[in-house]
């Protein structure tokens, strides 16, 4: 890269990191949201059993 290799490749590496982060983060977020809701459903079912 004509002596500019560090600057050019670091820029592309950071781009890659940002792209990956933007893919991984919402996937992880989705898993967390779903498991949290499942736990709430489970907790409510247990409470209903206790109340019966």
């Amino acid at each position: 890269m004509g002596g500019y290799a560090f600057f050019v490749w670091t820029s592309y590496a950071l781009t890659f990191v940002v792209v990956i982060a933007n893919i991984v983060s919402p996937i992880v977020q989705r898993k967390k949201v779903i498991s949290r809701i499942k736990r709430t459903i489970r907790r409510e079912q247990l409470q209903k059993q206790d109340n019966v």
Binding site: Y4, L14, V19
Partner: protein, 245 residues
């Protein structure tokens, strides 16, 4: 017409419809991006002044354009949420903020990595760089308000107001290179006569911009679906959906 809007703006309808769109956006983003990178890194000629370092342009400029575009999407969605109480709009705004912040960050750091060899400095407090940094703070402010305020509606109002007021920064960023003495290069593409860039460099640049747009579309759809599930977590459509999982 109001019934039509209400139907299409229901989170449940959005959740069902968006599932089909995401793979199309994701795959086309990948294809356009790979082709744009190939052209930009291996086909586009060397710049007579900047040598190979100018190739940072193929990620720096699309990232900067996205930072502005996503902010406008966020602000317009927030305004729609505030004015017409359409909750899906607030979800889109909240979903967009972290994506926009990451592109703003990318624009700033790739700019720094371009500035060091070309200008001799990683950073100068000129109008373009400073206003883009302020944009990053606006994104952080939006996300902080969403995090800090417990009641969702109040959080959306506060962060939405910040987003709307912050729109003033967008024309400042864009016109900064015209209005003030600036180290940063002036507009070559986003002005009203034909771009002053060679077509062999312009094509990969535009392809990368399109790829980033398609990528944003895919990611914001995934994030908005997460917002819909979370915000409607006590509603029947979510409970039934999760129950079936």
């Amino acid at each position: 017409m109001w019934n039509w809007i209400q139907r299409f703006s229901s989170p449940k309808y959005f959740y069902d419809m968006s599932a089909m769109l995401i793979p199309w956006f994701a795959i086309s983003a990948l294809l356009v991006g790979v082709y744009g990178l190939y052209l930009g890194l291996f086909v586009a000629p060397t710049d007579y002044q900047q040598g190979e370092s100018y190739r940072i342009i193929f990620v720096h400029v699309p990232a900067a354009w996205m930072s502005l575009f996503i902010y406008m999407v966020m602000a317009v969605s927030a305004a729609i949420g505030l004015i017409w109480q359409i909750r899906l709009a607030d979800m889109v705004a909240a979903a967009s903020a972290p994506i926009g912040a990451s592109f703003t960050f990318l624009a700033l750091v790739t700019g720094m990595l371009w500035g060091k060899p070309m200008w001799g400095a990683y950073w100068v407090w000129d109008a373009r760089l400073t206003s883009e940094l302020i944009l990053l703070f606006l994104y952080f402010g939006y996300m902080a308000l969403q995090s800090a305020i417990e009641d969702q509606r109040s959080a959306d109002k506060a962060s939405g107001l910040l987003a709307i007021v912050g729109v003033v920064n967008i024309p400042i960023i864009h016109y900064s290179v015209e209005w003030w003495n600036t180290l940063h290069q002036g507009a070559t593409v986003t002005k009203f006569d034909k771009p002053s860039m060679h077509v062999d460099m312009l094509i990969p640049l535009l392809l990368m911009a399109v790829a980033f747009q398609l990528f944003y579309a895919a990611v914001v759809l995934i994030r908005t679906r997460n917002e819909a599930l979370y915000r409607d977590r006590n509603r029947r459509w979510v409970r039934e959906l999760i129950g079936r999982m």
